[in-house]
């Protein structure tokens, strides 16, 4: 009664079908080696699991090191200390901060899409604009936003407006450049086809150039969405009454480093989620624009 069960367990643990073992009797060590190899292979086939294991390992190493070497919390707080701070301020308060940052990041991101894509289209259509606007864009991009943020805040006053503008300033440059590149990267044959049909110019833009720019635009959107989170945080560092960046700043100003790290963790989670959301939108709306299967 018991022995077949043991048999079954051991064979499934080795990851080898019984048939294979019968037909190719192997040296005694191989089942273990195979078992490890199979486990690794299985872990490799489940990227989620592999990531989780790596993450868990890192966190465990971090916790043990901090405890073992008694690292003071102002240098590096232990993961357990960081997680412990989450309960301190209550979930509604967390939600307020996350929503505030998310609102600014998404509105700034949205505004930068609304500006960048028409601007790129305009630059594509009007050569002179392209030549005059590009240097201007580079100047705007290379201006440290942190330096001009106080001016923006004084000019635009309280509320979300200055933070949204700061976020937009940080996010829109890669979008303009990528969209302009994408619009110009259309197969020339299709442009000739369009010309030979004597189609109206706007349709060349809407039916050929813009759709062909979609993969470029989405590459830039993936960069911009993470920049949007950074932008919102930078803006909150300059002026805010709520938000994860503000939370981090308040926490650091009080030397509550574990609490500040908790905020960083939330920011990282937000960035990851938004990045995945952009990928999801691309997969749902433009599946053809994804890289071909590897």
């Amino acid at each position: 009664m018991t022995s077949p069960r043991i048999c079954a367990t051991s064979s499934s643990a080795s990851g080898q079908p019984d048939m294979a073992q019968e037909s190719w009797p192997a040296p005694a060590v191989t089942p273990y080696r195979d078992a490890i190899a199979a486990a690794l292979r299985r872990a490799g086939q489940m990227p989620g699991l592999a990531t989780l294991l790596t993450l868990a390992g890192t966190v465990a190493f971090w916790e043990i090191s901090v405890r073992l070497f008694a690292v003071p919390s102002y240098l590096l707080p232990a993961p357990s200390a960081i997680l412990g701070t989450f309960g301190v301020i209550g979930w509604d308060r967390w939600a307020t901060h996350v929503i505030a940052t998310l609102r600014v990041a998404l509105m700034g991101f949205g505004l930068s899409i609304l500006i960048a894509i028409p601007l790129a289209v305009l630059m594509m259509r009007v050569q002179i604009l392209s030549r005059t606007l590009y240097p201007l864009l580079v100047v705007i991009q290379s201006t440290p936003v942190v330096a001009i943020a106080p001016i923006i805040i004084v000019v635009l006053g309280a509320g979300d407006a200055p933070r949204i503008v700061i976020t937009t300033l940080i996010t829109f440059f890669p979008l303009v450049v990528a969209t302009a590149t994408g619009l110009a990267a259309t197969p020339p044959e299709l442009i000739e086809l369009s010309r030979s049909l004597r189609a109206p110019g706007f349709r060349e833009m809407t039916q050929i150039r813009l759709p062909f720019a979609v993969p470029y635009i989405f590459s830039a959107l993936k960069i911009s969405i993470t920049l949007a989170v950074i932008g919102a945080v930078v803006a909150e560092f300059c002026a805010a009454e709520a938000g994860v960046g503000y939370f981090i700043q308040v926490s650091t100003s009080l030397f509550k480093l574990p609490q500040a790290w908790g905020g960083l963790l939330v920011l990282a989670a937000m960035s990851l989620a938004l990045f995945q959301a952009v990928i999801l939108v691309q997969r749902l709306l433009f599946p053809w624009s994804l890289p071909k299967s590897r």
Binding site: P72, V154, A158, A239, S251, S253, Q259
Partner: protein
């Protein structure tokens, strides 16, 4: 029955509406992030001092005195806290439309923090030391003055600048012999040092002779001109709140923590208790809470002008303050 209920509802709604109508809205500008040293305004809201004066106050965090002053000047906030030194410099140079209506810290909060046992135990002991400071603190402006006060040349110390959050760790790890910080942070740095098994010593610059007004209640000129009555009521409520903080620091700290849960009540109590000596001291005993003594104000301006290389004679500091909003006492 139903109609009576409806009537009660309508009455309640009317009362709510009328009380909301009656309350004057005031936007209060902090000079920095929330904290225990900013307790009076939280007390004003939480303990009902503001409501008693018919005020509905919202708090706007700031990023330094200059930021607070420019927001008040721009009119996005009505009244708030800022260093009067920054105000005097801004008024002398650009004539910004803001006026100080009440002094809060009547002595400078600036100090060196050192570790016990390091031998750096007086302001004069700074000679030859490495001192860390944050790039934007107003303390940097007064540093040459306090050094001059104790006969040290600026070249005699090594000044390094770092993010405020890094100063404590730099002191604990010995990367700096001393740091420049405010007396309001004594408890925080003390706790941080305790975690590293060390002890903090604070060397306030006021003891070395740097006597000046500091954080003050400052109002936008537009607010004062359009709603002088609201301003007077606010100053009255604020002054009462400051007095409350002195009598009931624990309750005051609880008020802050209730409105800003990110701050633990313990930390708030610490920094409030650190701040109280800057508000209540022998200057307060002599001149009264919130007043601007003409001589001390003139001395403050002389210091600021010297520190910033301005012509002291070209500006009258009396034009930067208005004493009429303080209640008669």
């Amino acid at each position: 029955m139903y109609e009576r209920l409806l009537g009660a509802c309508a009455l309640g709604g009317l009362m709510a509406a009328s009380s909301a109508m009656a309350a004057d809205k005031v936007a209060y500008q902090l000079d920095w992030l929330p904290g225990g040293d900013k307790a009076p305004i939280y007390v004003c809201i939480e303990q009902g001092f503001c409501e008693a004066e018919g005020l509905e106050v919202t708090i706007v965090p700031g990023r330094g005195s200059t930021d607070a002053i420019s927001r008040l000047a721009a009119g996005s906030s009505d009244i708030g806290m800022a260093d009067i030194g920054a105000l005097l410099a801004a008024k002398a140079q650009e004539g910004v439309g803001v006026t100080a209506v009440m002094s809060v810290f009547n002595t400078g909060p600036h100090a060196f923090y050192t570790l016990a046992g390091s031998g750096f135990d007086s302001v004069a002991g700074a000679r030859g030391r490495t001192i860390a400071t944050s790039p934007f603190t107003s303390s940097n402006v007064y540093l040459p003055l306090v050094l001059e006060e104790v006969g040290i040349a600026e070249d005699d110390i090594t000044l390094i600048k770092a993010d405020p959050g890094a100063l404590g760790p730099m002191l604990m790890t010995g990367r700096a012999d001393g740091i420049i910080a405010w007396m309001t942070d004594l408890t925080r740095y003390g706790n941080q040092a305790a975690e590293a098994g060390k002890k903090i010593v604070a060397l306030p610059w006021s003891e070395a002779g740097l006597e000046l007004y500091s954080a003050s209640l400052i109002a936008s000129d537009g607010f004062l001109a359009e709603r002088p009555d609201v301003a007077a009521r606010f100053v009255r409520a604020f002054r009462a709140s400051v007095a409350f903080c002195r009598e009931n620091p624990e309750e005051a700290a609880a008020s802050v923590a209730a409105l800003v849960p990110e701050l633990g009540a313990e930390d708030v109590t610490g920094s409030l208790k650190d701040a109280l000596p800057l508000i209540f001291n022998e200057v307060t005993d002599a001149n009264g809470l919130g007043t601007f003594d003409a001589d001390r104000l003139a001395a403050t301006w002389a210091r600021v002008a010297q520190a910033q290389g301005l012509d002291a004679a070209a500006f009258d500091p009396e034009t930067a303050v208005a004493r009429s909003y303080l209640p008669e006492s």
